[in-house]
Amino acid sequence: MRITVERAILFRALAHVQSVVERRNTIPILANVLIAAQEGALHLTATDMEIAMVEEVPGVRVDRPGRCTAPAATLYEIVRKLPEGATIQFDQAGGDAPLALRAGRFQTSLAVLPVEDFPSMTEGKLPHRFSLPAAQLRDLVDRTRFAISTEETRYYLNGIYLHATESEGTPVLRAVATDGHRLARVEQPLPEGAAGMPGVIIPRKTVNELRKLAEETQDEVTIRLSDTKIRFEVGTVQLTSKLIDGTFPEYERVIPRGNDKVLRVSKKAFADAVGRVAAISSERSRPVKLSLDRNHLLLSAASPDQGQAQEELDQEVVQYEASPIEIGFQARYLNDITDLVEEQVEFRFADGSAPTVVTDVAKPEALYVLMPMRV
């Protein structure tokens, strides 16, 4: 294999694929990137056996086609440190021969591992296919991924549940995540071709890689999937991932319908007050108590070591007409949601120990459920 490629082009592609590679690997080949050069095309592939990322690298001169695998992290670091505008030449004689890399006066030789050992994750049929704008995909991810569980014991919550359903008679593509303390649900109009898709749980790592890729494009993202696998096609990148083999809970049953104590409050005033009041707390969970009365909200927190703090918000920023209520929440959970709200946030309470529904007044297509703390 002999190829020549601009440093900037190669660096961008390597930055994508090396992100999939786990830093600690018991299987040596998984630390490598597969470099495959055919006539006029170079493909880089990395995998951790759960996710595979394949990037087609444009603008490459292929003098001699061939394939080899090289250490992804090392290659990435070398290319990163090469000067901008450099031209890189790869030369590999095939088999176990090392991969020679030259750029100007720099040259290195990297050990390779057999191409045959590199696992393929991209095979298998993906019968469902649809596309949606990258901005809509970003919205689905951004409004749900904060609620993904990080506790491996409950593996079926370690991802975003993506499925086709109906919302008040309108077909929608819906994303849901929960860690058992809060739940995020957001939807977009159902793209053409998505109607028959199975509900799938996309693993957290895949979600994070997808989010990085979706940041770089305004184009449509194509999604192909089966019961066990999903593929995102973002520009010249294909991200293929296994799906979580579990059953997502019937989340609709934990979304309260009858909460009638409605608070509307300025997002900025509320989020700032939560941050200030919670600063007193030494607890990891930083509980904040909300005490509500007519058009009046008192936020308070206490710490046995540090003292107590409170802040009042009045009718200038608070609308509340229902009977008084006291309820506590983790400050971080409140902030995770208010970070996603534009101007006004709406809370719908039942009582101090029941699930609370939170929405952005300007974006009703996103809904959050928050469980309180006993404070």
Binding site: S149, E151, E152, T153, R154, Y155, Y156, T178, D179, G180, H181, R182, L183, G246, T247, P249, E250, Y251, R253, V254, E283, S285, P287, P304, G328, Q330, S353, P355, V369, M371, P372, M373, R374, V375
Partner: protein, 245 residues
Amino acid sequence: MRAPRQLPLPLPLDPSYEPADLLEDPSNAEALAWLRRPGEWPGGRLALWGPPATGKTHMLRWLAAGRGWPVLSGPALSGLPEVPPGTGLAVDDADIAAEERALLHLLNLSAERGQKVLLAGREPPSRWPVALPDLASRLRGMAAVAVQPPGDPLLGALLSKHFADRQLRVDPGVQAWLLARLPREAGAVAEAAARLDRASLATGGKVTRPLARAALAGLPGFGEAEDDASLTGDEGASPPGPRLL
């Protein structure tokens, strides 16, 4: 002052009633033998009874699914319930039927049509607190088969199934530790799994021995007597678990 405590979302449970997950054991062998032969039920009726969480619902659904019978819920029986056509029907929690007249209507109509009827409850039907004389006499005349309290191997398998139903990964060593301390009752095992599920969801952590001690402290019959030095650490050596079915 009580420490603030995060409450978990009440995520619903979706237990498996798949035939493959029905655990056969000497405690339910007689009941299963009866369920496999509806043609031999006296008068075409059978009552399945036993303590809570011993698998009555699972067995009832297994039979109904295999024969295409509808499954009705006792607490939802009211008025003159529709009796779907077919060879039979099953009523779960029939001992707590919302309206006695509805259950009587169901029994009469199915008898007229020659449909088999399977009822499930916690006590034999002759002991159900029924006020309607006609219904009481029909229940007294029904064949009734008991599901016995489970033996140790089934208790271990039940605990594993409850965790599997809740999609909760629990270390086998912790499961063995739990089994050594839980009352020998299927209901207690089910209740323990439910409490541990809620507790681990609330703390956002694994089911460990310290968490189990705290979460099951109020569970009647949960004992710490068998604790010894080798069992106190979460990662420590544990006695081998009972062989699962």
